[in-house]
Amino acid sequence: MSRELHDALEFCLQEIERGADVETCLERFPEFATDLRPLLNAALLARSLPALSPSPAVMQRGRARLLQRAAEMRTRQERRHRRIAWGAFRSAAVAFLVAVFLFVSGTGLVRASSTALPGDGLYPVKRTWEGLRLSLVFDPLRREEVEFEIENERLEEIGELFAKGRVERVSFDGWLESRQADRWLVSGVTVVITGETRLPAEPVDPGAAVRIVGWTQPEKVVEATDVILLPPDAVVLPETEEEEGHDEHEGLAPPSLVSETPDDDDGGAEVSPTATLEAGDDEDSGGQKASDDSTSESGSGNHENHGGEDDSHSVEEDE
């Protein structure tokens, strides 16, 4: 019904458009005449509203305004593109300068920190840089070299702290070379074990890889707060040092460790268990052991083996 009514209305509108009058149209649809008549009258009124065309002046004015607006937009667009390009260039330049600054200041900082000792402000930078270096080495051989350098660096730092008489907290890895009562020799460093030192549950025998955490003392010893047993492959330092190097580490094994005077010949000096072991393993140790000659020169009395006749200070007995 409504569809037919809509169609009838459309038919009549088209007829009126062609010049027909309302009543003539309605004669075609007598059943809809009542509904359609007011609508067609309203359509006539709607058609009567003027729809004026623009004058040429209006057309020209509007055209000029629109093209002017388009030109402004183009200019703005070009300016924006230039701004974007300049902004991108500026950002890249700033990023580059920041990168250069960070690189220069970073390398300067790292260089400055290379001589830092435990307790110094730059020491954390040094340790961080070491960690970074290590994490960037993937070749196992090269990695071992770097680990060796780092462990050696720890020992050198302790040597410098001893030389300066500074008391600082240190941590280093090494081999337990000997132990005499409360004094252990770990990779050439004399470590004092106190009643408060935390020791591992397992027995720590000479030859074991250990980590020592403690405080350097003016007496050129490290007073241990913690002794941690490490797996044998955790330490890359050689198990014993070359004797030629002992002069350099004079402070690492102070004369205080030697219970007798160095001049006192073999019989007087204490013999370290390590030395005893080394003497026994002389053939197999590949030249890594201390030689007898170094005894009096270095003052590291506990490094020497003078025949191993006195083993009364063996680990077992100390324990």
């Binding site: 409504s2 569809r3 009514l5 809509h6 169609d7 209305l9 459309e10 509108l13 458009e17 007011p38 609508l39 067609l40 009258n41 309203a42 359509a43 009124l45 709607a46 058609r47 009567s48 509203l49 003027p50 729809a51 004026l52 065309s53 623009p54 209006v58 057309m59 004015r61 509007g62 055209r63 305004r65 629109l66 093209l67 607006r69 388009a70 030109a71 937009m73 183009r74 667009q77």
Partner: protein, 185 residues
Amino acid sequence: MPAYTSSQERRELEGLRNLDPQVIGAIYDRYFSAVYRYVFYRLGDEMMAEDIAGETFVRLLEAVRKQRAPRSNVRGWLFSTASHLVNDHLRRAYRRPEETLTETMGDGDPSPAEVFDERERLRFVRAALSELTPEQQHVLALRFGQGYSLQETAAVMNKKVNAVKALQFRALAALQRKIGEVKRE
């Protein structure tokens, strides 16, 4: 209006995106008169027709710049935008009733009484028209202001022919009612 293929339209839209003055000029020449007539039909005010028709084309440029340009049916987009601008204007006019819509008389040299009567008649019709929904006003302006056929109106409005038939039916019924109400007032 000359035959206008979709490929031509696509080329013109591409030119619009580049703000090509030639393309902008061509589109303006093709559609400005129709848009102006549409606005004038609904408002009966030459100045407003010029302003709103001009603003419609500026909106087209801005839409292109913001990547919101019509992908086809530029004519439909222009009429739709003009319709929105007219609706906005009418809303503002209702809020400020002291602003009266001007009316332009047809040709001839009518007497003052005839001028008055004609003005009153047009005022009634336009007042009634402005009471319709925007869509109803839009369909009547296209059909009776622009003289578009049912099919053309459907194309401009992006609707089906039957939907436009139904819409114009409702619009004329509403206009007839509103004219009665306006006259009674």
